[in-house]
Structures are given as C-alpha cells and as structure tokens.
Symmetry: D2
Subunit: 277 residues, 4 copies
Amino acid sequence: MATLGANRYGKQKVRVLRKLDNGQSVVEISADALLEGTFDRSYLGDDNTQVVATDTVKNTIIALAHQHLGPVIEEFALRLGRHFLARHAHVDRVFIELRERRWERMVIAGQTAPHSFHASPLGEPYTKLALSRVGCELESGIRGLLVLNSTHSAFRGFDHTEFTTLVDADDRILSTVIEAGWTFLPDETDYRSINERVLAAMLEVFATRFSPSVQRTLFEMGEAALQSAPGIARIAIRMPNKHYFPANLSAFGIENPNITFLPQDEPHGQIEAIVRR
Amino acid sequence: MATLGANRYGKQKVRVLRKLDNGQSVVEISADALLEGTFDRSYLGDDNTQVVATDTVKNTIIALAHQHLGPVIEEFALRLGRHFLARHAHVDRVFIELRERRWERMVIAGQTAPHSFHASPLGEPYTKLALSRVGCELESGIRGLLVLNSTHSAFRGFDHTEFTTLVDADDRILSTVIEAGWTFLPDETDYRSINERVLAAMLEVFATRFSPSVQRTLFEMGEAALQSAPGIARIAIRMPNKHYFPANLSAFGIENPNITFLPQDEPHGQIEAIVRR
Amino acid sequence: MATLGANRYGKQKVRVLRKLDNGQSVVEISADALLEGTFDRSYLGDDNTQVVATDTVKNTIIALAHQHLGPVIEEFALRLGRHFLARHAHVDRVFIELRERRWERMVIAGQTAPHSFHASPLGEPYTKLALSRVGCELESGIRGLLVLNSTHSAFRGFDHTEFTTLVDADDRILSTVIEAGWTFLPDETDYRSINERVLAAMLEVFATRFSPSVQRTLFEMGEAALQSAPGIARIAIRMPNKHYFPANLSAFGIENPNITFLPQDEPHGQIEAIVRR
Amino acid sequence: MATLGANRYGKQKVRVLRKLDNGQSVVEISADALLEGTFDRSYLGDDNTQVVATDTVKNTIIALAHQHLGPVIEEFALRLGRHFLARHAHVDRVFIELRERRWERMVIAGQTAPHSFHASPLGEPYTKLALSRVGCELESGIRGLLVLNSTHSAFRGFDHTEFTTLVDADDRILSTVIEAGWTFLPDETDYRSINERVLAAMLEVFATRFSPSVQRTLFEMGEAALQSAPGIARIAIRMPNKHYFPANLSAFGIENPNITFLPQDEPHGQIEAIVRR
C-alpha cells in the first residue's frame, strides 16, 4: 500500500514589477509560494475542496505585491507568508522564495538618469522563507555573481595520487560564480543593511587577499561576512572554480608566461562550505 | 570568530562517453564527485596537503569510466564512491551524481541501425549516491520528461478565496515535466530493471487514468511505481503544471469549445510529494 | 541627416496549441509574424496611425490558428501571410516563421495511447515564409536534431600548417546537431510528404554511409534529400562537429583503443553548405 | 544531380582570455573563424587535402591571440582574417566573429581594485568581419543590453482592426534588449572610440527622450548614433518590446494606477530597422 509523505504545492515564477517614488526606482521579483498542510484529500481521491488553486496563489502574490512590495524583499516574503497562514487554517507552513532582478539607474553624461535603468551586474539577490505558526527560518543571499581575479591566486602543495597530472600553479586566474546564503538571527530585521554589508565584505576579501586555494578564499569571505554583520548566524557559500588554463603553445615554439588562458565552463571544480560563528 | 561548518568539494560536469559492444551501444554521462572529510587545513590556512586536486578527481572519473562504465550507471557510481573511500583515509563521505544522456538506436527504413543514434525523448536519467564507510544512500530518477494529455484531465470543486478568479475546468490539457527520484532498499541491486519498471508504471498511469488534479495523478503515479518495484522504499515526485489556458476569443465573436490553447511556461503550478509504503 | 532604411516589426514567440480529432493529435507552434511596408510615420515622428499594434498581430495569429491551424504548418503560414496582405494595403511583405513542438503519441504496454504524448526526439521542425503581392519564398526545415555515429567515421589526409597538431583519425565518433532548410519549388504544395522524405533521406545517409569528413557526409545528405524530393530546389545544411576526443590515459599507463571519449560542446567545428540541383 | 553551392567551414566558440598590463586589464573573447574557398574535393569525394582542419583553425586563433590580442577586438579580427588569406591561397574569404565578455574593474570601498573584475552589465560587444582579397566588411555592435524606462513612454493612436483589443497607454513601462550593429566606413580605424560614442549616444536617447513608440525611440537612437560617429555608414537596430502589462486587479476591487506591472518574456513585440545617412 502507498502512503502520502511530505508534500507541498503552489505557484512558481510569478513575476511582478512595482514602481516606487513615481518610477525613480523599481522592484522586480520572481516569486514562488508553496503551501504545506492538510491537502491529503486531493492526493488520495477526487476531492479538491482543500486545495487553494495555484491560480489563486498567483493572484494573491500579485495583489499583495501591489499593496506592499517595497525595496526590502524580506519584508514582503514575511507578509506573504503570514497572509497564507492567517487566511487558511489548514496551511501549516509556507515556503516563499523571491528572486530579485536588480535594476540600476543609468548614468548618462555623468548624471544619474531619473527613470532609466540597466540590469545590475552583481548577481541575483534572493530571499527564502519557511514560515509556520511556531517557527521562522529566513535566509537571504546572492546567486550568479560572476567575478575574476587576474592574478594573486595560486594552488600548490596539494595531495598527489596515481591519477594526478596537475602541476603547481604560482600565479593563476581565479574566476567563480559566487552563490552565498546567510541566515538571519531570530530578532534581526535590518535586512537591507546586512545584505549590503555581507556582499561588500565578501567582495573586499575576494579583491584584496592572496588566494592560496578556493577553499581558503571561500572561508575568508565567510569569515568577513560574519564579522560585517552580527545579525546573521551563518553563511553557506558555494563557488565553482571556473577554470582558465594557461594556453600551451609549446608545440608551436611559443612561450606563454601566464599571459594567455583558455576559459572552460565544464568540467568545473566545486567548493561548498558553511561558515558559522 | 568564524568556524568551519559542513563542507565538501570536488569536480562537476565531467563528461565521458564509453562505447560498448564495438559501438552497438554507447553510455554517455555527466558526472559529479564531491568529497567530504578532513580538509580543514585548506580552509583555515595556506596548506593544501589534504587536498586531492579537483583535476585529480576528474582524471579518476575518466580513468575508472574507461575501465568500468557500463550500461548500469548505479554500479559505476558505487565503484567511484568506493574508490575514493578506499584510496583516501581522510575522506569520510563521497557524493556522486551521474546524469545520463540516453542515446537511442535509429530505426532506418524499418531496420535498427547498427551504430547510429538519436537523443532519447524520455528525459535524463540520473543516479545520486552518498557513500560513507558506515552507510549508503542510493537514489535513481528521471528529470526533464516532458509529457502532455490532450484530454481526460479536469480541475473543479477547489477552495475559493477573495483572490480566486479561476473557474472549474471539466476538460483541460495536462502537461508537465516529470521529475522523480526513487530510493533503493539496502540490498537491492537490480537497478536497471527497477528503473525501467518505475518509469513504465508512471507513464502508464499518466496515459490511462482520468486526472481530477495534478495532486491525484502524482499520487497514483507514485503508488504504481511502488507497486511495480518492491526494491524501492519511496519515490519523490515533482511536477510543474505547465499551463495551457483556453484561448479566449469572445472579443472577436469566436467560440472556442476547448480546441485552442495558449501554452505558458511561467508562472507555473508546482506539485511536490513523497509517496512511500 | 539620418534616413530610415529597411524595417519591419511584429510579434514573436506567439505560442498556440490546437487539438485535432478530439485530442487524438495536437499541433503546437511558436509563431513569429513581422510586417514590412509603409510605417515611416511611426519612426520619423509621433504618429502611430500606420501601426498595426503587435498585440493585434498576436490576436490575429491566435484567432486564425483557432480557425485554420492543422497538421501542415506551411499551409497555416501561407494563410497568415495572405491575411495580413489582404487586410492591410500598406503592408508590402510579411515574414512568418513557425516552429513546431512535435508531440508523439506514447506507446504504453505495446499500445498507442489515445491522447497522451511525449516530446519528439527528432528536432524542431520549422517553416519560414516571405510573402509579398508579387512573390513567395517558402522554406521548411529542421533544427536541433542531435545524432551520433559511434563508428564508421574518420578524418585523415588533411592539410597541415605550422599550427596543426591534430593527427589522422581512422575511427572516430561523429556527432552533430542537424540544422537543415529546404526551399520548395513555386508550385509545390505537398509539404508534409516532402518534409518526411527529406528527413528520412538525410538520416539514412547519416546512418549507413562511411563518413570520411563532415563535409562529405553533409553533401551526401543534401544529395539524398534532393533525390528524395523533386519538389525542392535546394537545401542548406549546417552541422556543428560536436567533438568527442579519445581520452588520453597514457599518463596512467592505461591504453584506450578508441573506447572512451570526452564529449566537448565548445569549441566546435562548423560546416555549412548549400546543395542544389 | 546535386551540385555544391555556397559553403564555408571552420571553428566556433574558441574562447581565449589575454591579460594586459600584468593583469590590470583582461580581454576575453569567444571567436568564430569560417573559411570560404576551394574545398570542393572534401564535399564531392573522400579527399581532405584541401581541408585546413578546424582543430588547426582553433590553434591558430589561440596562438595569434597570444601574440596580438589587445583591447580593440576589431584589430584582432582583421589580423586573424589576413592571416588565413595570406597563409592559404585557396581560401577566398574569411568570416570572423568575436564576442567579448567585458570585465569591469571592481570598486572596493571607493577604490578601483587592481586586478579584480566583475562582469559588465552593458551587454556583449561583438565584431563581425567578412574579408576577401578584394573587399572588407566590418561591423561592430552590441547584444543583450537589457534596459528599462519606468515612465516617459506611451503608445496611442494606432491602427485598429477586428482583432484589436489593446487600449491606448499614456504611461507605460518600456523595456528592451538592445541589439545594434554599425558598419564602419572603409578607411575608418578608430574602432574603440566609435564603439563608445555609439553606445553612449543610444543610451542617452533611451534615457532622455519621451518614447511615443518603440519605432520612434529606435530611430532616434540610430540617428544619434550616426551623429556621434561620422566613421560609420549605417546602424541596424533590433529591439524586442519586453512587455510589462499593468496588473488588472479590478476583480478584487483594487485600483492599480500604473504602479504594478506583470513582466512577460514571451510573446514579445519585435522592431527592426536600419538607420543610414
């Protein structure tokens, strides 16, 4: 016999843009909202009476965004989550994820344009909320932040096996796509300032410290993030090593003293760690 | 002060194709291998002596694939995992994921071609292994399996709120991208046969049962999967509802009795559940 | 002074699915319709009176699809094109492109399912029409058809330069993504049968002839296509060489007699040619 | 009988990064090089003696990039093109396309970092060259430049048909992905300065002029580009209209005075025009 285990459902990729200050800024999100609760009748038989239609979930997101979406996406996530819990007694937990398309004001001839924007190059901010009547987990983070150091990175002195062919590199290129998520302490509410400080702290480490390995750089980035923001409990960082191997031109009698590199998307190294207090 | 928490690293998207039977069949995989263990010196200081270079991980995957990759990717995942544990005392757990590009023999003028293939339309099979010296979790599954029912699907009698505008549908299109993962019982080794039976069972339910909701169809697919394969403990299924809304042509005085639909990739419904014995 | 040169506008990626025979088959397209004509007032000043809104173009595609879309997408392209020319005297030329998501009936336990489908593995068929009041160019084709020969392919005896390191290959893997477009003769109307015959002819060559080069295989595929279908004037074929290089395991003392290969998406060879009568 | 028509072949997506000034800047490109000439023997028979292997084309690109790639990608395209013509008498024409991944120096705590970069948000610059022994066409441009105006855009007074449901918009959001290519005059060599001025001119128009239609904005952008750079002959601009429709919340008794919008990737309007002197 089959039994229904953990389950949740809802709507994903609901996109909304809201203008603020007559269009002097805009907030654009792609939102997911999944509901967990007592929905077994829809799985175990032909009975949808417990089901809030995902179309209704979508409409709710859009209507509440119109009324409440502002520059702090964490606040909107909480509002959405609370709405579903308050409205539906049979919903036990709500999972919200908001991904932000960050728009930056253009600078035209040295002046900030009043209502014109280009996409931000600094990755996609997100916030993830798991909210129940007894608890709340809130994580914010960044994905897709593509960065590169042209020097001050090395990798040497590593373990060797029968399958090792890599040689020590004293001066290599380090490129990665930063994905990082930090968990707020329960009473913390200063999300926006924390997000800015965490991001700045990570980029400062990336740009100013010598990197003996992706591992070391990742840990130092996490350490700096924790130092910059007492309001977070931990940070999880995942960084692919997007390889740039030196071009080997020796077959053509050409020397390449670490000047020319061949970027390669795959395979890629992958380093993942949690840094906590 | 900052502390190193859970961490792992390795290589991802290592692609290999191996010919079998002089090319009468081929196995093509994209492999990830991540190592968990005692690697703290690389995070906490400028010391890489514990680090098996991810380049070595890549070479190991390729060399072992040459020696051992066959039609059953679960067996290769286990072999890879065991290799890393046996070779490195300071590795405690290995995470392997293999994704398969399934190649199907062409049929030319009614005959199966001896060494010519096209891509399979039935999604991307995968296997995920977490192997330590004391335990083993092995899950296989399928992703990206795009299917559609043109009729025999409905959705009515659902809960209504102040944000509900959806009306009951008696005959709708049901399209989804099946993503399902099933967990093998500890002593089970007949992976290939199970994978085939689970997939066939899910598709048979999809194709033959009336669907009163995605939830119901998902549960019945999971139930049939469990019935077809006593060797699995549970199955997790995630199915987006890829909406096809009826085209509303009333503004042009044209009736559309459920004949013409507007496919829409986003937003999409999302239904996720575990079905277990 | 600036002058307006060639210009066109319209709507792209209008998706429609139409059921046929009570859902026993479905036709799903993504349609583009661009209009060329007398629209200069919208470019040269603040005057939109000549502009058929792209939203109207979208509505027109959907409404006509409801009334006329059938299994032969070329016929619908022509109908759409003629509609815009007939309806708007100031439109001189219409560009239509239809891309088809081909759905295949599932086979369940040896039986064809009556209303259940999976995506076709044989690429994306398309048709492109440029229709004016004095002329018509109609091309149909296929994109994204991924195929592989595990053997019976070689590449040797090529030109050598100071930058050549490639060595002769007597037995290599040949994989490509076929993109081909064939142009119908003016009076030809048997689109469906021609499309099937051209595709079958190309795949038969790919599967049955020894390949001394991608160039040779491409030409033979084009030649066979022309032979199979007197109603086409020419065929343009573009085929990337999706490289599968033999894994070099000599550093580990392992021989690889053309058994194990490393697939690589980029860089890729690219061969493009027109074959005509 | 089948005849070989126009044909060309080569390598695509050859990626190279070159450090300049000890890594204070980097140039990263993805390069295509296709050769046209006398290669018929490879198509018409089993004879590759005319074929410069695409692997050699790749090596050539990398070796010449090491020796010559600098900040002006047009100069490198010309050098590559001339190399193939000079080296191979049977090559008649060379098609080069270089796409640049533009890396921007990070600013850390108000200071420009010496060797650290993030991806540029301003799209992907490219240059396309068709070079023969008797002629040269050189076009540079930009793709993927995502921009948005939150106001100062309208669309009204357009043509109406039986399929028109769109109503006049006095204040809409205008978002597009600019794709523009400009053709240099034969003797022009100041590519870098022209590229900067053309881009700045287009963005200034986008940010400062009221938009009565995408057509008008496109033309004014082209006009400004031509004015900014006497060294270009024409500019081709393609701009999708990435729709942001006002959320209709009237079913919930909520008014939306142009504050909240639903972004929609497809279908999209498409406007394409050439602006010339």
